[in-house]
């Protein structure tokens, strides 16, 4: 049984169907990526998995438990963390308060303190500015904070939505190498990215989404060498 199973998922905004019946699975310990252009339905898929949107139809199963109809604030406690598109850190709270909120449902004070230290080890800049309002951080630093915050719930599945969006090439590299470190440490990740090259090089499996459907699936390697993918998403003619 896979950690996450999505079966024929359909999501609509009013009458407009953004996700038109997709199925995929994520096995424990692997990195799965959804790639595709803007408006393909990738973010909608993640927002539905974390409970912010209600599916029109289909089945979502996490560790054998159905997720349909479970409130967003309860899904976190089941082990699914979501670092949303655009980072969405709490701008007027301090960096440390943002991290503490990531552990909102945990009661183990010592464990939380240890995980905050880990986050500072991983991203030293966050530790240096721990008392500063998170809104004063640069885009890349905010992305580090968003990822650190999502990890604070000790998730079984980490969902990252466009972690490299709007970042400088150097910062993008830093974020991507953090993701591969997390992968090496055994974290299960569902990654949505527009930077297909970087995402597919990291991923065990990938799915190409186009206007609400999955049009192509394969291992990261296979997709990276697929001609149509290279043409459409890797900028080759």
């Amino acid at each position: 049984m896979a950690l996450l199973e999505v079966e024929d998922l359909r999501v609509a905004y009013g009458k407009i169907e953004a996700v038109k019946g997709i199925s995929f699975t994520v096995e424990a310990g692997e990195v799965v990526t959804l790639i595709g252009t803007n408006g393909a339905g990738k973010t909608t898929t993640l927002r539905t998995l974390s409970g912010l949107l209600k599916p029109l139809a289909g089945k979502i199963t996490f560790e054998g438990q159905p997720l349909n109809g479970v409130g967003a604030h309860k899904i976190v406690s089941m082990g699914l963390a979501h670092s949303p598109e655009g980072r969405r850190i709490f701008p007027r709270l301090s960096i440390e308060e943002n991290l503490q909120l990531g552990a909102f449902l945990r009661k183990d004070t010592d464990g939380i303190a240890a995980d905050i230290r880990n986050a500072y080890d991983r991203f030293p800049i966050l530790g240096e500015r721990r008392r500063q309002a998170a809104g004063t951080l640069s885009g890349g630093e905010q992305q580090m904070l968003a990822m650190g915050r999502a990890l604070m719930s000790r998730p079984k599945l980490l969902m990252l939505d466009e972690p490299s969006m709007g970042l400088s090439p150097i910062m993008m590299q830093k974020i991507m190498s953090t993701i591969s470190e997390l992968k090496a440490a055994g974290t299960t990740i569902l990654l949505v990215e527009q930077n297909a090259q970087a995402a597919l090089s990291l991923a065990d499996h990938g799915h190409v989404m186009e206007i609400g459907n999955i049009t192509l699936s394969g291992t990261g390697e296979e997709l990276l060498h697929d001609e149509s993918v290279r043409k459409a998403y890797l900028g080759e003619d």
Binding site: H73, A81, H82, R92, Q100, L101, G102
Partner: protein, 309 residues
């Protein structure tokens, strides 16, 4: 009560009262972007709740003994009505057009006024409120009326408690997170519905305390008392920067002092004699609001709207 320090004390008492009510507008707005126009009526119901508690007690019960019970029943009745309004009037409309809850709030405000008018015994006219009584307190540099003592003690306690709650507790932090970004707050595991209920409840409790203060000040409660008090408190919330709890109190104090000063001194300015006295005080309050909106639209302590991404 004519010297400058006395007028200042008078204005601060009035302002603290506006500030306590304004907290309710600002907290609800900060979290759900709703101007709860029924908040003035929540305040009024708090006043009637306190009066009810007083009437239940045997005749001749001292006010010192009665006051805790009056506060308790005032707060409980205001909180129940506010939480009920949130649950049954506002929550079903959440996520819909912004105008729907606003119109609902106006309707609810009228309905609550009429309900008290129709069902509370003898509420068709003003009902006398128990009085603190006794001579003014002469502190040397300033004279305080005994009625104002209640607000001078209760407002700082309320503000201090709220400030500590929001800044230091886990739930307070969840409240800040919810007001900054409700969807992401849910992703942290915060039950935002519960946070919203809490914002309504805290606002209602503070309004009930303010209603008791006003009851002492004016010697009565009536079913219409929420209208002007609510309008003034809303002004205070906007003045201070809506969404900011300290702004609400600062806005209230500025408004109260401005009103007291204008009432006391504008009539002394040559050429403006006919504008002196209490009957013009609401005009000065709203002129102040218009000035602030023109010169500093985000309010005294407000954040620039650009910060609210």
């Amino acid at each position: 009560m004519h010297g400058l320090p006395d007028q200042l004390a008078n204005g601060l008492a009035l302002g603290a009262l506006y500030g306590l009510i304004a907290i309710g507008y600002t907290m609800v707005y900060g979290i759900v972007q709703l101007i709860n126009f029924a908040h003035g009526e929540i305040f009024m119901i708090g006043g009637f709740g306190a009066l009810t508690a007083y009437l239940w007690l045997p005749d001749g019960t001292g006010l010192a003994l009665a006051l805790p019970l009056m506060i308790l029943l005032g707060v409980v009745s205001a909180v129940l009505v506010a939480v009920g309004a949130e649950r049954f009037a506002y929550r079903p409309l959440r996520g819909g057009p912004r105008l729907s809850p606003l119109i609902t709030a106006i309707g609810l405000s009228l309905a609550l006024q009429q309900a008290v008018w129709a069902f509370y015994p003898d509420a068709k006219k003003a009902r006398p409120f128990p009085q603190i009584g006794g001579a003014d307190l002469d502190l040397g540099f300033v004279t305080l009326s005994r009625e104002d003592l209640f607000i001078f003690v209760s407002a700082p306690i309320c503000m201090l408690a709220l400030g500590l709650f929001v800044a230091k507790t886990r739930t307070g932090r969840a409240m800040q997170a919810t007001s900054q970004d409700p969807d992401t707050a849910k992703l942290m595991g915060i039950n935002t519905d519960r946070i919203i209920v809490m914002a309504f409840a805290i606002g209602a409790a503070f309004a009930a305390v303010a209603a008791i203060a006003q009851g002492f000040k004016t010697g009565e409660v009536n079913f219409r008392m929420g209208f002007i008090a609510g309008l003034k408190a809303f002004t205070a919330a906007v003045l201070g920067g809506i969404g900011n709890i300290y702004g609400a109190m600062v806005g209230g104090l500025v408004l109260g002092v401005a009103e007291a000063m204008a009432t006391a001194y504008i009539g002394d300015i040559p050429g403006l004699e006919q504008f002196g006295g209490g009957s013009w005080k609401d005009v000065w309050a709203f002129i102040l609001l218009i000035l602030v909106l023109l010169l500093r639209p985000q309010g005294i302590l407000g954040e620039r709207l650009a910060d609210r991404a």
